[in-house]
Symmetry: D2
Amino acid sequence: MAAKAKKRVGILGATGTVGQRVIHLLRNHPYFEVAALAASDRSEGKRFVDACNWKLPFEMPDAVKEIKVQPIKPPLDCDVVISSLPSDIALETEGAFAAAGYPVISNSSSYRMDEYVPLVVPEINPDHLDMIAVQKKKRGYDKGYIVTNPNCTTIGLVMALAPLYKAFGLEAVMMTSMQAISGAGYPGVASMDIIDNVMPYIGGEEEKVEEEPQKIMGKFSKTKFIYAPFLVSAQCNRVPVQDGHLESVRVKLKKKTTVEKVIAALESYKGLPQELKLPTAPEFPIIVRLEKDRPQPRLDRDAQNGMATVVGRISKDTIFDFKFTLISHNTVRGAAGAAVLNAELLVAKGLL
Amino acid sequence: MAAKAKKRVGILGATGTVGQRVIHLLRNHPYFEVAALAASDRSEGKRFVDACNWKLPFEMPDAVKEIKVQPIKPPLDCDVVISSLPSDIALETEGAFAAAGYPVISNSSSYRMDEYVPLVVPEINPDHLDMIAVQKKKRGYDKGYIVTNPNCTTIGLVMALAPLYKAFGLEAVMMTSMQAISGAGYPGVASMDIIDNVMPYIGGEEEKVEEEPQKIMGKFSKTKFIYAPFLVSAQCNRVPVQDGHLESVRVKLKKKTTVEKVIAALESYKGLPQELKLPTAPEFPIIVRLEKDRPQPRLDRDAQNGMATVVGRISKDTIFDFKFTLISHNTVRGAAGAAVLNAELLVAKGLL
Amino acid sequence: MAAKAKKRVGILGATGTVGQRVIHLLRNHPYFEVAALAASDRSEGKRFVDACNWKLPFEMPDAVKEIKVQPIKPPLDCDVVISSLPSDIALETEGAFAAAGYPVISNSSSYRMDEYVPLVVPEINPDHLDMIAVQKKKRGYDKGYIVTNPNCTTIGLVMALAPLYKAFGLEAVMMTSMQAISGAGYPGVASMDIIDNVMPYIGGEEEKVEEEPQKIMGKFSKTKFIYAPFLVSAQCNRVPVQDGHLESVRVKLKKKTTVEKVIAALESYKGLPQELKLPTAPEFPIIVRLEKDRPQPRLDRDAQNGMATVVGRISKDTIFDFKFTLISHNTVRGAAGAAVLNAELLVAKGLL
Amino acid sequence: MAAKAKKRVGILGATGTVGQRVIHLLRNHPYFEVAALAASDRSEGKRFVDACNWKLPFEMPDAVKEIKVQPIKPPLDCDVVISSLPSDIALETEGAFAAAGYPVISNSSSYRMDEYVPLVVPEINPDHLDMIAVQKKKRGYDKGYIVTNPNCTTIGLVMALAPLYKAFGLEAVMMTSMQAISGAGYPGVASMDIIDNVMPYIGGEEEKVEEEPQKIMGKFSKTKFIYAPFLVSAQCNRVPVQDGHLESVRVKLKKKTTVEKVIAALESYKGLPQELKLPTAPEFPIIVRLEKDRPQPRLDRDAQNGMATVVGRISKDTIFDFKFTLISHNTVRGAAGAAVLNAELLVAKGLL
């Protein structure tokens, strides 16, 4: 990449919680540079440093401070857009960008289950990107297209399920989440709802987690996705934690196996991003901890710069085959990092 | 009761988190008065007000302040003991009290699964108290005996399961808990382990929840308990909440039914404590909330003075039949209140 | 009061955090009954049970559930209004109610420093109500008038200062607060701003605390208030606590004295509400705790039903004379309870 | 340094919260390598990876995992010891190490106020190290000596006071702290004491903060320290924050000045560590933030790798001259980083 010019990225929803993480991840990136920042009406025309209520415990990169915030619509002066918009406006806006010739790498939910839009986790289903050609034809896009990444709770789950599915087959998955407040953005969850409390409801979350894994772990066959035939049940809760979604999981497998083999399958799992050494790819996408009290949000969410899924407490279940606990950083691996890794994969495949 | 003298209660583990709740519940009690307080070596001989690091947001009752703390061994000058001792010392100590002629109402885990000890939730299995006669004979106790209440996570669960078991039969239960810190006593959970964090491990908890419900919901037949034949899987987590164990539950029933009938079964459930109007019995042992974001620890743990189980988010599950969320106050219904209600039932049945 | 009909209260801002507390305090009140509920546009015309996002850990009283929410403007079918409106709309609205003949008991900040409006803490300056006659004349009100209570941080502070001012004189006060999130209402403080964090800024708070005490502790002389001549410095912080404002205070007194005499002055302090046994008055307005680690929000905010100010850690200061820590429940004594106690005082004085 | 061998460091209290931070700071350090780890009886003889309950959100460095934990007494196979022991054992133990010939760089409180022991903040009073020669003579040490760093609350305070003292003179300082739980070590603060709560008491803390600044900012004159003649008043509170001590401060200066000049004095402050470019020295020891809601623990504690003091909310005070808020990372700048920076300064001065 050294000799080539960096791709110029436009960020849709740049002032939001995920937008800020994308900006942080793209500082000093070997493939990309931030070229345009788009956000809602209130921010338009302001310098980013004035428009953005920066909430990350890192400094805002100097390179973005003086960029003028633009409206969220084409044209934007950039080669590709990374979008994390609320789903109500993402449907129209992302479609408009694709139609206007922009590759759209989206963290929004609007297109995830679209029959012609790949829902990609680079370690698991990079071949789904072959749908882009079909999508362009079906939707009449010229150079533009849409690629999505999963919901922040789905992604940690599928990272742990994919090796098991591959090694042992999968029949059913029960997942109960304890999710961080940053998943709701800013201002998001009211503090009166979460201090000394748990919220047993996150709008739309259970439905997403119950349907996305089967698409991600399914097959791409010529012009369509064939969903993987297992069932997922999700119960989603919000807990007073800043970052990191913790998930209690039980799995029913097709083949009988042992805890040791489950651990081996998880620990040995690597994919195309590791092979290609993509800049944001974790060296080890899954880390297994054997201590009885791990993983924990505070200690494990930042493993491998927040891109690893940490799995622990793997044991036999009394009803299904195995139970375990996992953590995944919801705004890194679960959102901004997922989109950036997808972008890196697209570059590596020559699609960007 | 009015004409009768009050029963004189000795509290084992009086300075602990549960002991303090028992003292609070027995202030102005129509059947009972606190007569003796026993606690560990460090406290012996001190006035209770000096020995006890009182951590309840209510004032310590004046009636106990001047009582001298005694060692945890018989004799104690009282008619009955309520015990909440660490399991490592409960086994020997509670046995010694029973052998010395004291009825022991225990919140400890040591005797819960003992073949001759009833594990009682008064709404569910008051008939298990018939085991007391058998126990006395088998163990050679004269007037003493041991009655236990369940683990603090089990009790909220069985309160919700009992009506479903009765109405529809039960095959399997998956429970994932988000438990309050008060369940670990004081000092208990280190703050560094729980601020901005979740602990995915609570020693021994999953095992208890996986075996106690079948005993409680089983039958007493002459001289033995016949366990109810369903499976329970538990994953237990600790969250930064002072009081109230929240549980995400899925159930597989024997008969097919509807959400409406599940709600009706839960709401209409009453038992012997309600019939007898026992002083600590909640008027409605189960409260169903229909709002999408209830129950919550902060808003629902104190329902019916902390003696109700509040159930919400009842819906169809994608794998089992139904899923729901429940909350139960862990140190009231789950410990001190459970023991006091058992004591009240024993009085009502003439066993005390 | 028994024979008299209850006064009919209208609540302005009924769906808010303070409005909910007022409703809770007026359930079964001997002097008052809730007759009208007014709230912002979004709520108008709805039943209160549908309009209000009830956030108290008590049940909403049945008596208010079916009341239709009305717009916040006169006329309202009631004898008196209790108002807790945002300051931007309180100025015009409360004035309009007073002009329309309603006694207005306000928790808002708009009129607190008005030269003709009494800012009353019943234990401290009940005589300031004599300004009402002047106010009516100056403002051309007929039967209506406005009476205010202090800011939620001011009130705990002046409760502790008043006895010291009376006994020893007061030159200067340094107060640093650690305030609860409920003080900002709902949704109020974003959880991302307060989990594992402290916010060192609360808009307008320091200014209020620096000027209100001198009015409250000043004299009413014929037609004007003469402010007490001491200085206050305030630094206000928000901490992750649901209820209860904790304050670290240093005082410089006019007369030299001892810790023992300071304690005696605080403990013996009583006022007109205690003398009149007003329904909401705490029996002991100030409670002194001698333990080295009290007061604490969780353990002390609810003392005397949240109407007491709890003071502890009283000791010599190295620069000023004494330092101490106090807690006051911000939505009870600091808002809803302050307004209700003012209303009770007005009834007792024949002004309502 | 490149050509020289690294100094071999022994860590006393290696398994504790501060010990872990020291280990983290010394990974890949240009001057030092960890050679010996000493901890209490329970840990002796175990591999460090087995003995230490590692609580940092970073991985334990591989280099220390296999080191055998030794008892906390000389001899240890190392060139220098960094100690963070409980004060009750530090007095005897650190003295024994110094007598046995080890330079002791101590984070413990035992020797801080000793008349012959320098209490050093490298930016402020590096010349106090000249006391080492006097100390050796007075105490009969040969090669050993003791150098201390301040209490974790003191250090953030003196970092902000030193430039003001230098530029304007200082008469009095009022400081109210909101301190992180990590300051109490592990297990430290019980979660029941701090969730939804503030603890208004930290044993011994106020006394330390009230006396250490005058020594640090005083002069070394031949054989003794001449304390700076200003007064400090401290009120110390514990809040539910993992890391970072927030302090609300008022200062009374000798010369009148302006907010602008106060800001300029703080921002321009640099010292010997910056001049010498010591490895752990922050480029800017003091960062001034102008936003009204900064500094905050979550956003500012890690500034300059946790070695900066961040100051904000600088404004005129109604009683003293100025008030402001500061944050300092209590286990980095306030403990482990302070000791390591002292060690680096000793190397740079040829004393190690």
